[in-house]
Amino acid sequence: MKLAEIISRLDLRLISGASDAEVRGCYISDLLSDVLAHAHPGVLWVTIQTHHNVVSVAAMKEVAGVLITCGRRPDPAVLAEAQEEQIAILATPLSTFEAAGKLWELL
């Protein structure tokens, strides 16, 4: 499924990058090393982390996008970095649990 479709179904906000990636699954974790160890390329990574290392890890794992839950927003500097790395970052007021439930239905 295209990231754009998930954005419209979950009413997410795209705050950096583009929405044309193909999403091949989902991975949920707030531990960066855990994502590095277990996330597959092309997944949508759901997290509450907003630190700029999220961008590094997302770029390293070549995820389709990063969904930041609970209404949290990264700093503008982190968004600029994500923009530069062409990492799609999405924001939602939903909790991780709620977002995960909706994603489970879609993917």
Binding site: D30, L31, L32, S33, D34, L36, A37, P41, T47, Q49, H51, H52, N53, V54, V55, S56, V57, A59, M60, K61, E62, E85
Partner: protein
């Protein structure tokens, strides 16, 4: 007084064009903006540039025989010598004059140019150049300290000598450089392969990921397989964040060899208390700040070990930690 080889000095334009201005010969520069050619004109002597093999004639020879000598050897001036001592010079101009006046069969002694301006074989070339500029002659007979004729010098000879010596110096420099490069090949090669070598500051959470990001870009630019690239980058990232979270500061290096990528993280301490425990998934000593930022999952070293094809960590509480990980370029498994 008629002087030797006047014809070449008659046209001022030509003379200027031929004049050897040393500052124009600047193929290479030495210290202080002095060209090598400028040094050479001081170093080289007239004897280094002159033509030593000479066609000469005796005072009793006829002008006709000198004319034939000039024609045969395509020369424009013949020194007149008795017992090695220079008596005079017959130039083409003298021959033309003799033909014109009908005394071409006279002995040269009667018609040759005397009172020659000469240069000495020990003169520096810069002095010879000054003599050419001063008199405007095309050539100078060269005498040694015993007044014996030892050669002849033209502006062309000076240019040729300079070019030859510049070439020799250049070849020498190239040879020396090649030798130096050959001698220094291993470290040079190592330096070329080391694609990353940077200090990592303790507690620099904001800088975390910068080096591994750079490594990722370098490996991508080199066309390294994505899976290999990803594993190498994960190792670099975990090693980098380990230095930031746990060490008092260290250094991260990455080397791309022909068959493997080697990543090393070396710190000055405090060292890992129990390496075996640290290698266990989920075991972490990270502080609350690191944990809040998503670090400290207790997965750093296990991640590195999982991603590496060869892994080694040595640590002591006094000497710090040295981590060595290798990713083989021929093993494209996913992380």
């Amino acid at each position: 007084m008629r002087l030797a080889s006047r014809p070449q000095a008659k046209s001022p334009g030509r003379r200027r064009a031929m004049s050897l201005r040393t500052e124009n010969l600047t193929p290479s520069r030495d210290a202080g903006g002095v060209s090598l050619a400028q040094i050479l004109v001081y170093e080289l002597r007239v004897r280094d540039a002159m033509t030593p093999k000479l066609r000469v004639a005796a005072p009793g020879d006829s002008l006709r025989s000198v004319q034939l000598l000039m024609k045969e050897h395509r020369i424009s001036g013949v020194p007149i010598v008795r017992d090695g001592a220079l008596l005079g010079l017959v130039s083409i101009e003298d021959i033309v004059h003799a033909l014109d006046k009908g005394h071409i069969n006279d002995p040269v002694e009667a018609r040759m140019t005397r009172n020659l301006v000469v240069v000495r074989d020990h003169y520096s070339l810069v002095r010879a150049v000054a003599e050419f500029d001063r008199f405007g002659f095309g050539r100078f007979p060269v005498l040694d300290a015993g007044d014996r004729l030892v050669g002849i010098l033209t502006r062309g000879d000076i240019t040729s000598a300079l070019m030859l010596h510049l070439e020799r110096r250049a070849e020498e420099a190239v040879r020396r450089e090649a030798e130096r490069t050959a001698a220094a090949a291993p470290p040079d090669e190592a330096a070329r392969r080391m694609v990353l070598n940077a200090k990592v500051r303790a507690g620099d959470f904001d800088g975390a990921g910068k080096l591994s990001q750079r490594l990722r870009q370098i490996l991508r630019a080199r066309g390294v397989d994505p899976n290999i690239r990803r594993r190498a980058t994960i190792i670099a990232y975990e090693a980098e964040t380990n230095l930031i979270i746990h060490s008092i500061g260290g250094r991260l290096t990455a080397t791309v060899g022909p068959d493997r990528i080697v990543i090393e993280a070396v710190d000055q301490g405090p060292g890992i208390e129990n390496v075996e425990l640290a290698l266990r998934d989920g075991w972490s000593t990270a502080g609350p700040l690191a944990r809040k930022l998503g670090f400290g999952a207790g997965m750093g070293l296990p991640n590195i070990r999982r991603s590496a094809d060869h892994f080694d960590v040595k640590s002591g509480l006094l000497e710090g930690t040295r981590l060595h990980a290798e990713v083989f370029l021929q093993s494209p498994r996913a992380p």
